[in-house]
């Protein structure tokens, strides 16, 4: 955890590797100066000295506490500078913050995961956790969509997961390219081909807001109740500690009460898909 004397003081972390996942997405492999414990779905504030910080959900396994991986999409000021960093740089970590996935309650169930774009980052951490507890799960189904085959991140992850008992993965792309022979279409279209026992299942949706909206609607249509659906909400944040109010969504502080919510908790919130 962060130094108790100053809640805003980051932990130092050495950047040991930078993995290029797609033209806009890189994974930063960090060795924190001391053990860093988090639960899957919680987020951190990752900083570059003299530049600023931004919230990210670790994409590595929570079972590994001496190394942390964060997958970052280049979208603006801070993330552009992060993408320029090379191994050997030092970064800062605050956190972990918020409420992650209640994985204990997934025991005995089928877990359907719908992801899009960079949403696979938090999902990868969840998948590591589910893999670890697979004897207590019925099945894990991952449906993932990217804009094009080039934009798909963690490509080796899919074949690895498909070789694990109880895991099934499906991929699609919005726009095909030379060499792609898989399905074309949006991630939600993959839901038509899966077999799931809805009454004994939970669904996790994580991705860009537009995918979260269309995905949640399709999952509800499949027959899931609103308390069986988990959404990971990304709202603009600042303190990450429930103090500044930047992340407010109705009565909730996304940084403290979330970022993971059931659809039931937030469905009446007018800002849910904004």
């Amino acid at each position: 955890m962060t130094d108790n004397t100053n809640i805003y003081k980051p932990l130092r972390a050495n950047l040991v590797d930078v993995i290029e996942e797609s033209p806009l997405i890189k994974t930063f492999v960090l060795i924190p100066e001391r053990e860093f414990v988090f639960s899957t779905g919680q987020f951190i504030e990752l900083s570059v000295d003299g530049v600023g910080e931004a919230p990210f959900t670790p994409s590595s396994s929570p079972l590994v506490t001496d190394k942390l991986e964060v997958t970052v999409m280049k979208t603006g000021y801070v993330t552009n500078i992060m993408h320029e960093l090379k191994p050997g740089a030092v970064m800062g970590i605050r956190g972990p913050y918020g409420r992650g996935y209640p994985v204990k309650s997934f025991e005995g169930k089928e877990v359907l995961i719908l992801g899009g774009g960079c949403g696979l980052a938090p999902i990868r951490s969840l998948l590591f956790t589910l893999e670890h507890m697979k004897d207590k799960l019925e099945k894990v189904i991952l449906c993932y969509g990217s804009k094009s085959p080039t934009d798909c991140i963690y490509k080796p992850l899919f074949s690895r997961l498909n070789s694990i008992d109880k895991f099934e993965t499906y991929r699609t792309v919005d726009r095909t390219e030379e060499g792609w022979d898989g399905p074309v279409g949006v991630a939600t279209a993959l839901l038509d081909k899966i077999k799931v026992k809805i009454e004994n299942s939970v669904a996790v949706v994580c991705g860009p807001p537009i995918m979260m909206k269309f995905g949640t609607i399709r999952i509800l249509e499949m027959g899931y109740r609103d308390d069986q659906i988990y959404l990971s909400m990304e709202k603009n944040m600042s303190c990450g500690l429930g103090k500044c109010g930047h992340c407010m969504m109705g009565e909730f502080f996304v940084c403290k009460d979330g970022p993971v919510f059931t659809y039931k908790e937030i469905k009446h919130n007018p800002e849910i898909w904004k």
Binding site: T172, G182, P183, G185, V186, T188, D192, F214
Partner: protein, 151 residues
């Protein structure tokens, strides 16, 4: 080749159909096979059959000037396509091509329309499923459009 009732029962589209309604479907449908890259129909073709894909996979897209084709989506096993065959002017809104060897059930659209008129329950079940297919296609297209526009 004729379709067997037992095979129809395995198709999700018919999950709520009674035995008698499945017999009706079997009597107005046949099984057809297509080779890789075979065009099932072109955009703007007049359509005679509604299809459900039994085996393989197909590509659905639209044509642009200068013979350019845009691939919009993949049709997977169990999915219905060519729904325009039951609505005037019975003209296809897209092209469909087999991307693997494929087997489909082809339901005679004129006869299907006649059965829909005759039996309200059959008509309701058929139209609900077709409406669901169109609704999915519409929402997927909106989603795809928003993605392409980076909204």
């Amino acid at each position: 080749m004729k379709m067997e009732i037992e095979d129809l029962k395995k198709i999700k589209f018919f999950e709520k159909f009674t035995e008698q309604q499945l017999e009706t479907i079997a009597s107005i449908s046949s099984v057809k096979e297509f080779m890789v890259k075979e065009i099932i129909f072109e955009q703007y073709d007049e359509l005679a059959d509604v299809f459900i894909l039994l085996q393989g996979s197909m590509s659905l897209g639209i044509s642009l000037p200068k013979d350019k084709r845009i691939h919009l989506g993949t049709i997977e096993e169990g999915q219905l396509f060519s729904w325009s065959a039951i609505f005037p002017p019975y003209i296809s809104t897209a092209w469909v091509m087999a991307i693997t060897p494929a087997k489909v059930i082809a339901i005679d659209a004129r006869k299907l329309n006649a059965e829909i008129d005759k039996d309200c329950d059959f008509g309701f079940k058929t139209m609900s499923k077709i409406a669901q297919t169109i609704s999915h296609r519409l929402s997927d297209t909106r989603f795809q459009l928003m993605n392409q526009l980076n909204l």
